[in-house]
Symmetry: C2
Subunit: 199 residues, 2 copies
């Protein structure tokens, strides 16, 4: 039984469906939205509707976009010969924020995960191979995650790309810059030692 | 500079205005809403609009309601002679959840806070006194918080109510039930000792 009127109960229920938002937090957010200037709740509702209407996947890279072609794919100033393959749009955003890459992206929208029934047909690998076949790409950087699934996906893609006379690289793993060695997890440390290079 | 399309950037901006939601969390929530079934974002937007349209303050107690009179004020089964004064609707909900009170409420929608320029005219004290003057109330329980402002508000209300031949009580402060004494803060402990009673 709830002690809030129905309209507020509904809002609390919807807010608490968001990841990491429990019922207590949802209640606090709803109370905030009730007390805030009315335009705040209106603006959030409008932003939700607009996102639903406008946001789509870029027809080229499968990244997030408001238009058929995303900002990066439409930018002639980006290096057209290098493709960086990531799992999700958020990873693309992280690499862009770091200013670490000047080429274009390909977003897989997932990783291979046989345990969960996700095979090569379920993520955007076919689209990637099509882009490769269209030509012009000389290097593919595999920047999937370093989880078991991410590594497996990178291995699978490396195999698919092998026949195509393209440089296939993998983003490096190792000790984070500025990180204290004693706080680095043992798996990362072991990998960093294994792939050590001449100074 | 942001790396998301405008519609998603707007949603992230709106979400990060919510209390306790930083930009990182807002980004995660937006990504969730993008990937979730479309009806989830729609339902949240609809709940926001419905809350804005329907939620109002009860004309009697100033609590939250979808109708002119809230569920509690409209319930003839509640004790009509006892009034519990709280700061905010959330406090009313907490008392209701505890099943601690069978009378009706009066929500002040704030506390006296001269430091912040909040005087008796800025919270619902006038409405409380009107309810008292209408008669039928024999006890007022002051359940404002135990902060400096809450205590000051309770003292002020006790003074206002003194001429009205009504029993005025204050919700008890002390050691929480089930709490370990050594973890109770010193101010609470001091107060609990001061107001100790015969066993």
């Amino acid at each position: 039984m709830s002690y809030y009127p129905a309209s507020i109960r509904k809002l609390i229920a919807q807010l608490s469906r968001l990841p990491g938002i429990g019922e207590k937090t949802a209640e606090r957010l709803a109370m905030h939205l009730l007390k805030a200037p009315p335009k705040e709740a209106d603006a959030l509702a409008a932003a939700l509707v607009e996102m639903r209407e406008k946001a789509r996947l870029c027809s080229e890279c499968n990244g997030l976009s408001d238009s058929p072609l995303c900002r990066i794919c439409a930018d002639p100033g980006r290096d057209q010969t290098t493709l960086c393959v990531v799992e999700q749009p958020a990873e693309m955003v992280a690499i862009e924020r770091a200013g670490a890459f000047s080429g274009r992206y390909h977003i897989l929208q997932g990783t291979l995960s046989p345990m969960n029934g996700v095979g090569p047909e379920d993520i955007r690998i076919r689209e990637l191979m099509e882009r490769i076949r269209r030509g012009g790409i000389t290097e593919v950087v595999l920047a999937t995650g370093t989880s078991v699934e991410g590594e497996a996906t990178a291995s699978y893609l490396a195999e698919c790309l092998a026949p195509h006379n393209i440089r296939v690289t993998r983003i490096a793993s190792g000790v984070p810059i500025g990180g204290d060695l004693k706080f680095v997890d043992p798996v990362t440390l072991k990998r960093a030692m294994e792939v050590r290079h001449a100074f």
